[in-house]
């Protein structure tokens, strides 16, 4: 049976960095796909995900609840995303041609997808992490329950409440049905 998040974190803090490999393997897909929908580009999402994991490793000592590793990781990813966007804005001294090219390659995920992604990004941590793990990481509810160290009933309840919040947010944008329906 693979070690839990909390066991991996403790192992890393005890001087076994290889334990972090389990955490990367467990969350790399969820995190990168989540970031891809935020940033719109897979290459950038991969870079931000990598930076997020490295920063997380060196900040493990500050993690108060090791069982909430993924939620904490999403917080770090948000900060790295913001830094990346700020850096991109600072480097706007490209030519008009380059700018047009950049814009055409960035608009990968317009419309309904973007609205849902933004709504997911705006969820409280506990709800966002179950949505990201379930849909972007392809984890089953039983896997999420084990990874996060919470009962299965808590996972499904959080998912239900996350759906309700997403529906509210999407309705506020002008109708959930029209946004969500492909």
């Amino acid at each position: 049976m693979p070690p839990s998040d909390a066991e991996c974190v403790r192992s890393c803090l005890d001087g076994h960095p290889e334990a972090f490999r389990h955490l990367v393997a467990r969350y790399q897909t969820s995190l990168t796909r989540h970031l891809r929908f935020h940033l719109g580009e897979m290459g950038e999402a991969l870079e931000v995900a990598q930076e997020t994991f490295v920063r997380a490793y060196f900040a493990l000592g500050n993690l108060r609840k090791p069982e909430a590793f993924f939620s904490w990781l999403l917080g770090i990813a948000d900060r790295v995303c913001k830094e990346t966007r700020r850096a991109a804005l600072r480097h706007k001294s490209v030519s008009c041609d380059q700018m047009e090219l950049a814009e055409t390659t960035k608009t990968v995920d317009p419309g309904a997808g973007q609205a849902v992604t933004e709504a997911v990004g705006g969820l409280p941590d506990a709800y966002r992490e179950v949505i990201v793990l379930r849909f972007y990481g392809g984890h089953s509810c039983a896997d999420i329950s084990r990874d996060l160290g919470v009962p299965l009933g808590t996972v499904t309840k959080r998912l239900s409440r996350a759906y309700a919040l997403l529906r509210e947010q999407l309705a506020g944008r002008g109708g959930a049905g029209s946004e969500v329906t492909p």
Binding site: L46, A112, V116, S160
Partner: protein, 229 residues
């Protein structure tokens, strides 16, 4: 079943995780409640959309890159830690430790922007300390960004490099002496004294070469050191 219970159980229902009795209760409630039935349909559409989004991205494998970067950064941190440990082993403390730390930063690291070279310099110094388990004296030649005649206060990358020498005498009464053009500081662990360099009369640089018949600079300084220490 109440509507609030039904809403909380929607995910478990869609995932097929409800036991048969709860599933039957929920379906009975939805037969009667149009609002919950509509909500179930909306959530079904939402989850289908989320699933399509998730599947749209390709598989990811970051383990090797992440672990390589972590191990590289750890190696750098480890060397820095060893360096600090070696400095402690040498017995540097107090104000002199600050001077040596500045010297290392100013002399090695700022002098050589290439991190690998700076790390190498620090490593050589650490190895030297390790290879000499019970030294009686240590003599370090280095460069420090500072100005002459200053009392080891004005140190930083806005100043030019000047040559600096440091001696540590071990034993019952360990002492330190740091020398730079125009200034000498001596410390015995309790007191710190500094004064103009004895060979720097009129602002000339000490140790800039020696005339025939004079003692070599190193021996001359060591004899001065005996006087000062």
């Amino acid at each position: 079943m109440k509507c609030s219970e039904c809403r909380d159980a929607l995910a478990a229902y869609l995932e097929g995780l409800l036991d048969p009795a709860d599933r039957a209760r929920m379906e009975a409630h939805m037969d009667e409640c149009a609002s919950c039935r509509a909500e179930l349909e909306e959530v079904r559409e939402l989850t289908a959309h989320l699933q399509r989004e998730g599947l749209a991205a390709s598989p990811v494998s970051l383990e090797t890159q992440v672990m390589d970067r972590i191990l590289q950064q750890q190696a750098v941190e480890l060397r820095r830690l060893k360096m600090r440990t070696r400095i402690r082993i040498l017995g540097i403390s107090g104000a002199m430790a600050a001077a040596v730390a500045m010297l290392l930063v100013g002399g090695f690291w700022l002098a050589q922007p290439a991190t690998a070279e700076a790390e190498r310099a620090a490593e050589v110094l650490a190895q030297g300390a390790e290879a000499t388990p019970s030294p009686s004296t240590v003599h370090i030649l280095a460069k420090l960004r500072t100005i002459g005649h200053d009392n080891f206060v004005m140190i930083g990358d806005k100043y030019d490099f000047v040559p600096v020498e440091i001696w540590k005498q071990f034993g019952d009464r360990p002492k330190w002496r740091v020398e730079k053009p125009g200034r000498v500081a001596v410390m015995d662990g309790k007191t710190l004294g500094s004064q103009a360099h004895p060979s720097d009369h009129g602002g000339g640089r000490a140790g800039g070469g020696h005339r025939r018949g004079e003692e070599p600079p190193a021996r001359r300084r060591l004899s001065q050191e005996q006087v000062f220490l």
